[in-house]
């Protein structure tokens, strides 16, 4: 059951983004002054589009998708708009919110073990959502769960349904989580570092399965990760966050090969290469959080190209070629940044 949207103009649904986040701000109110974690973040996800949200610690990426599902703690104050299918997520009533969370969107968490009940079988876990919200009968739900597990590449799905989470490996359990997220036919999937805790070979397989499902069902996906290479491989659009703000946004191939923000370029350059030995490029200092940076560009303190203007005025997110970049000097640094990233 999805939230009916009386405001969706007929015929224009195709242009309406599935998820639209506009000028999102998040601050913690139990500090004096309130601690800002996310500032002025805007992004959209269209049906069938995969958007990667990339950042390090303190970037605010996890908080952003939690806000989109209204999963933030009470002490977090949210400003700005989050709209799903034209309707404001913030203004949903309790029952509408429940319908939204159980029918329109689904979330895949980083650690499957802390999001599954160890006392219930895999089968019970898979069907409890749809059965509790009366979307399906128990027997139908069971059949669907078995079918989904098989699609995940889990052989012997019937037997697996009767097992408990501790009997499954991390990779297997994460595949169960993906199946669970698809049970209620969502239109948008939030994936919060779904493969970070997995071995790299397992990650490859799990991501392949997830991408297959996204493409087959024409779902939207907001994919949070710290791994730029992974994000570039599996998403259409990349949104790079630093210290609670968006610093760059554009098509994945574009941002990956031709970064236009010094932070993106530095991030790309600091990955250790498997093919060449060289002095690693590091960014001095450590990743900042929104409340630690003053006026001016969030990255100025660590940026090798920072000027006085960078330190005093916060650069707005503006179009540069086909991307959106929050940097005063993006155009003049274009060549340098491209070279730094491809080295």
């Amino acid at each position: 059951m999805t939230v009916p949207n009386p405001n969706a103009a007929t015929g224009l649904d195709g242009d309406q983004p599935l998820l639209e986040i506009r000028r999102l701000g998040i601050e913690l109110t139990d500090y004096l002054p309130p601690r800002v974690l996310v500032q002025d973040v805007s992004l959209t996800v269209r049906a069938g589009e995969s958007v990667g949200l990339v950042g390090e610690s303190g970037s605010g990426k996890s908080m952003t998708i939690k806000a989109a599902m209204r999963l933030l703690p009470d002490n977090a104050n949210v400003s700005g708009d989050i709209n799903f299918d034209g309707r404001s997520v913030d203004k949903l009533s309790r029952s509408e919110l429940a319908a939204y969370r159980s029918g329109d969107v689904a979330m895949i968490h980083q650690d499957p073990r802390s999001h599954t009940n160890p006392m219930r079988t895999v089968g019970e876990f898979l069907i409890e959502g749809v059965v509790a919200t009366r979307q399906m009968k128990k027997s139908d739900a069971n059949d669907k769960a078995v079918a989904l597990l098989a699609e995940m590449g889990i052989g012997d799905a019937g037997r697996r349904m009767k097992q408990y989470p501790h009997q499954l490996s991390g990779g297997l359990l994460q595949r169960v989580m993906i199946a669970a997220s698809l049970m209620n036919e969502p239109r948008l999937i939030f994936a919060d570092e779904p493969t970070t805790a997995l071995d790299v070979t397992v990650q490859s397989e799990v991501m392949a399965i997830l991408m297959e499902q996204i493409q087959d069902r024409d779902l939207g996906m907001l994919f949070v990760t710290h791994d730029l290479d992974l994000a570039a491989a599996v998403t259409d659009t990349l949104v790079v966050m630093y210290a609670g703000t968006v610093v760059e946004r554009g098509r994945a191939e574009d941002v990956y090969i031709h970064p236009r923000h010094p932070y993106t370029a530095a991030l790309l350059a600091s990955r250790p290469s498997t093919t060449q030995v060289r002095r690693l490029v590091s960014i001095p200092g450590r990743p900042a959080t929104a409340y630690e940076v003053g006026d001016g560009c969030a990255f100025a303190a660590r940026c090798p190209f920072a000027t006085e203007q960078c330190r005093s005025t916060r650069p707005p997110l503006r179009p540069v070629d086909d991307s959106q970049v929050a940097c005063h000097r993006s155009e003049e640094l274009a060549a340098v940044l491209k070279e730094a990233a491809s080295a």
Partner: protein, 284 residues
């Protein structure tokens, strides 16, 4: 928040605004009672032992704020004097059992294996024994007074500590830094006292605060039964017992005041201990 996101909370900046009101209030009450216990005899309006049979069992008045007891002694002064004895009793019990319990807990947690298992077995047996009965037994054998119940209750309270501190110690011993210290050649003794103990002490302290309330009640109960502190010594439990006969004659002041002192003190310490425990949980 995911484990990766937590990395950003390492800088000190700004003050947390949320104040734990219960913590403050209960802490203030405990402090107040403690001050009375220490300075009570100085602050008391009347000497606690001064009898005045002509003015016995009076209700509250300007001269005697809470009235007098069966022998004409000022109730509030006796209550203040009694605070000292009650506190001393509960204090010794808590300190003694905390020391023994923590030592036992860390020893068990560090050594693990059969040492841990057997210590646990002993503790489980001790848990099963009701404290008051042991105290009564001790008084019967060694004579009534202050020390027999205190020592008995100290022993009885050891397992309460040991259990809580042990689970905290076990968790601490599994931390990588402990292994790092072992690897660096630091002696077991030093690791346990300098590192494990230090990190386990907040929980021990919170537990001690909660135990204080129970110890106070138990100690008062033993005196109430006549097997603890003896008259004319002022002690809350004793006063409650003493005042029983007067209740029927319409003068409940003594039992009421003494009982109220016990209740307020115990509740304050329990709440304080509870809030301290929550703070420790939140900090981790």
């Amino acid at each position: 928040m995911s484990a990766i996101a937590l990395d950003n909370t390492t800088t000190p900046a700004g003050a947390r605004r949320s104040k734990d009101k219960l913590l403050v209030v209960s802490g203030a009450v405990c402090l107040l009672v403690a001050l009375v216990a220490v300075f009570g005899t100085v602050l008391a309006p009347h000497p606690p032992d001064q009898t005045d049979v002509l003015n016995a069992s009076l209700g509250p008045s300007a001269d005697h704020w809470f009235g007098t007891d069966g022998l004409g002694r000022d109730i509030i002064s006796r209550a203040m004097a009694g605070a000292r004895v009650s506190f001393a009793g509960a204090g010794f019990i808590v300190l003694g059992s905390a020391f023994l319990g923590t030592t036992l807990a860390i020893f068990a947690a560090w050594n693990g294996g059969w040492v841990d298992r057997n210590i646990n077995r002993v503790l489980n047996v001790m848990f099963a024994v009701p404290g008051i009965l042991v105290a009564v037994l001790a008084s019967a054998i060694f004579g009534a007074g202050f020390w027999a119940p205190v020592i008995a209750l100290t022993i009885v309270y050891v397992p309460f500590y040991a259990r809580v501190v042990r689970s905290s110690a076990v968790r601490e011993c599994k931390m990588p830094y402990i292994e790092g210290l072992e690897l660096a050649g630091v002696s077991s003794w030093r690791i346990c006292t300098r590192h494990v103990l230090r990190n386990v002490s907040p929980i021990a302290l919170a537990q001690a605060t909660i135990a204080f309330g129970s110890a106070l009640v138990d100690f008062a109960a033993v005196s109430f039964l006549g097997l603890g502190v003896q008259p004319p010594q002022a002690e809350w439990g004793l006063m409650v017992a003493d005042g029983r006969s007067e209740i029927l004659s319409g003068a409940p002041q003594q039992s009421l005041v003494a009982g109220a002192c016990i209740v307020v003190t115990v509740v304050a310490f329990n709440v304080l201990g509870d809030r301290l425990s929550s703070r420790i949980g939140a900090d981790r």
